[in-house]
């Protein structure tokens, strides 16, 4: 049933990682993604792996759950591996079949590229596992605010996300009810040609759209009645404040980048 879907993948907890400021976490995630591209040797990939493992442990999330977040993109990861392995330049041929040539260099490159993807997925899912969507929205708004002068609508984007988070469960429930109501009138959603099936969806989609518009209209009036007039002059109940821990976390990431840079260019490892 539709209503069985649980929204978002926030996993409440009280770990060090959960407690970090959302802005610090978003910045740290971005910096980590940069760090990934500093890694060159297998040894530096080892350092990255250790770091990711440490973050998972610190977050006290179920390890399997975090690892499972790689699942949705496993095809792309495998594809990355194969494309690099079979098309990479290199002289050390391990296997050849007609046009396809598997080289040692290509294989290593493929593994590295896939690892980059895996690290990226793991670290960004740790961000969403440890940060509630609402706090994440606050963080994004706060980080985007300086870019308002170049036309980034930070407040509006955040308000849209907030309202979406609030109404997605309501609209899922509503969809469920409309499907049932039309089913009770003998509607059939599972048979016929593709075009026919698309047409069969109209008795669901039209009421759903009408309802969404009505809700939007009523919500707009209710917001106006509560003195909403855009982001200008607005305050927040929860103001984001950087704490020592946030600076330490960012410092650690910068250190990680430094270590990787030194390994690559200083020591040639």
């Amino acid at each position: 049933m539709l209503t069985d879907i649980t929204l978002g993948q926030y996993y409440p907890g009280s770990s060090v990682i959960h407690g970090l400021d959302p802005r610090a976490k978003i910045l740290a995630t971005l910096l980590f993604i940069a760090a990934i591209f500093f890694a060159e040797s297998m040894l530096s990939y080892g350092v990255l792996a250790l770091f990711v493992a440490a973050v998972i442990l610190l977050s006290r999330l179920p390890v399997l759950m975090v690892l499972r977040s790689v699942k949705p993109l496993w095809i792309i990861i495998l594809l990355t591996l194969f494309i690099h392995a079979f098309t990479g330049e290199g002289s050390n041929v391990l296997y050849q079949y007609g046009f396809f040539r598997l080289t040692e260099e290509g294989l290593i490159m493929g593994i590295k590229m896939s690892l980059r993807l895996v690290f990226l997925l793991l670290i960004s899912s740790i961000l969403t596992f440890t940060t509630s969507p609402i706090v994440l929205t606050d963080g994004i708004e706060s980080l985007l605010r300086p870019f308002k002068c170049i036309g980034v609508p930070a407040h509006e984007l955040a308000m849209m996300m907030t309202i979406a988070l609030r109404f997605i469960p309501t609209l899922i429930e509503e969809t469920d009810r409309i499907i049932k109501a039309q089913t009770a009138r003998g509607a059939d959603f599972d048979s016929g040609s593709l075009l026919q099936r698309a047409k069969n969806m109209l008795p669901i989609l039209i009421p759903l759209f009408i309802s969404a518009f009505r809700r939007a209209d009523e919500l707009a009036i209710a917001m106006e009645a509560r003195c909403y007039r855009g982001g200008e002059g607005r305050t927040r109940m929860h103001e984001l404040v950087y704490k020592t821990g946030d600076f330490i976390a960012l410092a650690i990431i910068v250190l990680l980048i430094a270590v990787l840079a030194v390994m690559r260019w200083g020591l040639g490892l």
Binding site: D4, A181, G186, P207
Partner: protein, 287 residues
């Protein structure tokens, strides 16, 4: 032949921390010609119950049969059986989708496989039932009608399926008293004319007392009381209060009078209570 539920159990979000059992081993039979009111507070399981009656939810345990046909089988007989149970959801006007009143009401009959002539007749009958003049309304956009009229179009859309069992989930919700009375007048006319079974889910005790021949009280996924409304409202007030239900106002008035020593019997009809009061007063004056 009846709708029958045998040992039906149902749990929402089974196997998750949000697991909630909505029905516990429910047994129930509803015959054609009955007018059954189902009461129970929000979350009691009454919505889950009526969705089983119409085959919209499949029992996790037990079975639901209409006229001996299991509703959850995947064959033509089961589909026909499901079509014999009409379901009007709460705020049914929110499910209207077609460009004209005619097209929206014709949706059900067409899905049932009626011929164009058959559909036409079913739509005309349903509109007549709902008090919607064919000439005036058939080609109008349902979205431009008033709230009360949209409600009638939506109910007509289910009635046009010509169900033997008609389930109505709070058909009068959000309407003013006049519109409420009209909707019920039409439902009663249909009930009497076609001899169908009506299953009315309601929060309004007065509606239950006035229209139903049978009352089901649902609490915590079980049918805790099943009987004639008058009998339940007279003799089971304590049980009703315990599950946050109440008796209709006219029973409360009778009870208040009885407590003060006036010799009147509780009754679902105000007129009847007034006759009793007059009799008591006369006999008192005669003394």
């Amino acid at each position: 032949m009846p709708i029958s539920l045998e040992h039906v159990s149902f749990t929402y979000m089974k196997g998750t921390p949000f697991e909630k059992t909505a029905l516990h081993d429910v047994n129930l039979q509803i015959e054609k010609g009955e007018f059954v009111a189902v009461i129970g507070h929000t979350g009691s399981g009454k919505s889950t119950l009526v969705q089983h009656l119409s085959g919209l939810l499949h029992p996790q345990k037990g079975s639901v049969c209409v006229d001996g046909v299991n509703l959850n089988a995947k064959n033509a007989a089961a589909k026909k059986a499901r079509n014999s149970v009409g379901m009007v959801f709460q705020y049914p006007e929110h499910q209207i989708f077609a460009e004209t009143v005619y097209e929206d009401i014709a949706f059900g009959p067409r899905n049932k496989g009626l011929t164009p002539e058959g559909t036409d007749r079913a739509v005309k009958d349903a509109m007549a039932f709902a008090g919607l003049d064919f000439e005036t309304f058939a080609q109008r956009s349902p979205f431009r009608l008033s709230g009360g009229q949209m409600r009638r179009v939506a109910i007509a859309g289910v009635v046009a399926m010509e169900p033997d069992y008609l389930i109505l989930d709070e058909p009068s919700a959000g309407l003013d008293p006049r519109a409420r009375d009209e909707i019920f007048k039409e439902i009663m006319a249909l009930y009497r004319k076609r001899g169908i079974a009506v299953i009315l889910v309601t929060h309004n005790m007065e509606e239950a007392a006035r229209y139903a021949t049978r009352l089901l009280v649902v609490s915590d996924g079980r049918i805790i009381l099943d009987g004639v409304p008058h009998e339940i409202f007279t003799n089971h007030k304590e049980e009703l209060l315990k599950v946050s239900m109440d008796v209709p106002p006219v029973y409360k008035l009778a009870e208040c009078l009885q407590e003060h020593g006036l010799n009147v019997k509780s009754t679902p009809e105000l007129a009847d209570l007034e006759r009793q009061i007059l009799k008591v007063r006369r006999s008192r004056h005669a003394d």
